[in-house]
């Protein structure tokens, strides 16, 4: 694909860059939030919950990255990460509010 690079329009390159950024940073955000949510909601003692959350987070990261490149547009890549991020942040916030953490 690089060989064809000269023929590719600027908008395509920007879209790819946007997807890469979404995958690396947005994906990390979702993974980190997922680990926090799991840690706060799992009925385990805190050390065990932390270890479980961290162990699972990489699977979430993987799925998030795949999503960024599988979806139709670069915009939907960002939306598809930000929506779960907001939900996860709310759910972990709720755990704090309920005094689970």
């Amino acid at each position: 694909m690089k060989a064809k690079l000269a023929a590719l329009p600027m908008s395509y390159r920007l879209a790819v860059t946007s997807r890469v950024l979404a995958a690396v940073f947005g994906g990390y955000l979702v993974a980190a939030l997922a680990s926090v949510t799991l840690t706060l909601w799992l009925p385990l003692n805190r050390a065990e919950a932390v270890v479980t959350g961290m162990t699972v987070s990489f699977l979430v990261y993987l799925v998030a990255v795949l999503w960024c490149f599988a979806c139709r547009t670069a915009w939907s890549a960002w939306v598809g990460l930000l929506v779960p991020s907001v939900i996860l942040a709310t759910v972990s916030g709720a755990a704090r509010g309920l005094g689970l953490a």
């Binding site: 694909m1 690089k2 060989a3 879209a15 790819v16 997807r19 993974a31 980190a32 939030l33 680990s35 926090v36 799991l38 840690t39 706060l40 385990l44 003692n45 805190r46 050390a47 065990e48 919950a49 932390v50 270890v51 479980t52 959350g53 961290m54 162990t55 987070s57 990489f58 990261y61 993987l62 990255v65 795949l66 490149f69 599988a70 139709r72 972990s92 953490a101």
Partner: protein, 529 residues
């Protein structure tokens, strides 16, 4: 990326694989060598003699030595010999000259039978490959971050590779030799699928090993800035009493071994730590060998009072999440593996390395074909070619150079261990320069030939520079030393074969290239899907 899911995944596979391929090749190759870390250590420090194992006798020798040489040290560390590591290692840290400073750290290797200090050559041995494969010779913590990021990319490349490769089992039985680009692809798929469980395990576990560093969010939320509280809960350690300042005799520690083994469920003991030896508040920590079971547990030990011998504390059994994380760790490092399984680990690691290498070759080969007619390669393809040569053939040659340096550098050289490492990097840099200066094919052939020459002659070099040549080691059944020589010989022969194939391909490719380019361009395009 509009073409559909599988094409999108193929795109991701191609580009993650290219950008991180060179680094991953180095991580996989050095990591694979690290499975034989102890054997490489043994070869690189052949002065340490192999003796029949007797843990109690070894511990007594270590204790006698330390009581003479370091009676006032705040702590002693004793590592007992095992089947793979023949010497007793004793180390201690001197009390600091001024408070707040770190005391001088000394390590000595003792003969497991006589207890005499063995004058060993300075070398990092296999430890160098082990450290490099996750620290990449970079300052802490950057190397670990980069290596773990590469592992995440590897994870993505693996999964996208599986998705891309729809006919996973059908294609596995398809190997079309001597078909150029096709054969590379078939080889890539075969090694990829054959050891797929290993690839998934090794990649995912590498993420788990450094998870507290790279994914600390949940840790920070639960513990705030007090990270040590987390580690205290995960790896509970017995609080060791403060120094009393009253002298007391440390009794013979050998009987503690059997008692510790009983406490640890019949495990083997690997390491003994004595805190405040010769003090009324001395304590002795006896830690089990990590080769005992799959789950790797940091600090699985029994603590004794160093005067009365009373048990102060034993590590409790781990809860399930920690046991799972510990199992991933243990599976990754493979300390539990016996000789057969260790070789299987080694072969799987080589298969992983080969999978990455063939992937890089395919990427370039497919794009080179488009420029075969003009014979002029665009800059980016030439760059990939040079990096392919230096990162694969160059790295293999550098490993051989590291072994050669171990035998040829003078024993009295200042910073000798560092010079071995420097030789490795100098050789690697030279291979990059060479790849830049020579045409691609020729650079491949020349570097592979040189690496083949260096590896095949390792047994000869060993025979000329030490008394531990194959005639002796085979007769003594010292499989670590003999195995090292023989493995180098086999590696050299394999590299010679690769160089020969490369040389022949260079002759035939010119004739075939134009024909294939015009008749089957569509098949080649599909070949990567």
């Amino acid at each position: 990326m509009k073409e559909g899911f599988r094409q999108a995944m193929a795109w991701l596979h191609t580009w993650t694989g290219l950008v991180f391929g060179w680094l991953l090749f180095a991580i996989f190759l050095t990591g694979t060598l690290a499975y034989f870390k102890d054997e490489i250590n043994h070869w690189m420090q052949p002065e340490i003699p192999s003796r029949p194992l007797d843990a109690a006798a070894s511990l007594t020798l270590a204790q006698t030595y330390l009581q003479q040489r370091a009676p006032d040290a705040p702590s002693w560390q004793i590592t007992l010999p095992d089947a793979r590591d023949p010497g007793i290692s004793v180390s201690w840290q001197q009390a600091p000259a001024r408070p707040g400073e770190r005391g001088r750290f000394t390590e000595k290797i003792l003969d497991a039978q006589t207890g005499a200090e063995v004058p060993v050559r300075k070398s990092f041995g296999g430890e160098f490959f082990y450290r490099f494969h996750f620290q990449l010779q970079m300052p802490y913590p950057w190397g670990r971050w980069l290596a773990t990021s590469a592992a995440m990319v590897m994870f993505i490349a693996l999964i996208t590779g599986i998705i891309t490769h729809k006919k996973i089992f059908k294609d596995f039985f398809t190997f079309r030799p001597r078909k150029g680009q096709r054969s590379w692809l078939d080889g890539h798929n075969a090694v990829g699928v054959l050891v797929l469980p290993f690839h998934l395990m090794i990649t995912y576990s590498s993420l788990v090993i450094f998870m507290a560093m790279v994914m600390p969010a949940s840790l920070l939320v639960s513990y705030g800035s007090d990270r040590s509280a987390f580690y205290d809960e995960v790896f509970p350690e017995a609080p060791t009493p403060e120094r009393a300042g009253i002298p007391a005799t440390l009794p013979a520690m050998a009987p503690l071994l059997a008692r510790a083994s009983e406490q640890l469920g019949g495990g083997n003991v690997a390491r003994v730590t004595v805190i405040n030896p010769g003090d009324a508040n001395a304590s002795v920590q006896v830690a089990r060998a990590s080769s005992d079971r799959i789950t790797y547990e940091y600090g699985n030990d029994v603590t004794f009072n160093g005067v009365s011998g009373q048990i102060l504390d034993a590590t409790p059994a781990k809860p399930l999440p920690m046991a799972i994380a510990g199992s991933f760790y243990g599976l990754h490092i493979g300390h539990f593996a016996g000789p057969v399984l260790r070789w299987l680990y080694f072969i799987c690691g080589l298969a992983g390395t080969a999978m990455i290498g063939t992937g890089l070759v395919i990427w370039l080969g497919k794009r080179q074909l488009k420029h075969a007619k003009t014979g002029v390669m665009p800059f980016e393809l030439r760059l990939v070619e040079v990096l392919n040569i230096a990162s694969m053939a160059g790295l293999i040659g550098a490993v051989a150079a590291f072994f050669w340096a171990n035998r040829l550098l003078p024993l009295s050289l200042d910073g000798r261990a560092n010079w071995e490492v420097n030789t490795f990097f100098i050789a690697w840099t030279l291979s990059l320069v060479h790849a830049l200066l020579r045409p691609g094919r020729k650079a491949w052939v020349e570097q592979l030939t040189l690496a083949a020459l260096l590896f095949t002659t390792v047994p000869l070099l060993n025979a000329l520079t030490t008394a531990h040549h194959l005639g002796v080691t085979l007769a003594q059944k010292d499989w670590a030393l003999a195995g090292f020589d023989l493995t180098c010989l086999a590696a050299g022969l394999l590299l010679a074969w690769a160089a020969w194939k490369m040389q022949r391909a260079a002759h035939t490719v010119r004739v075939e290239k134009t024909r294939r380019e015009t008749t089957r361009p569509i098949t080649l395009e599909q070949g990567t899907r």
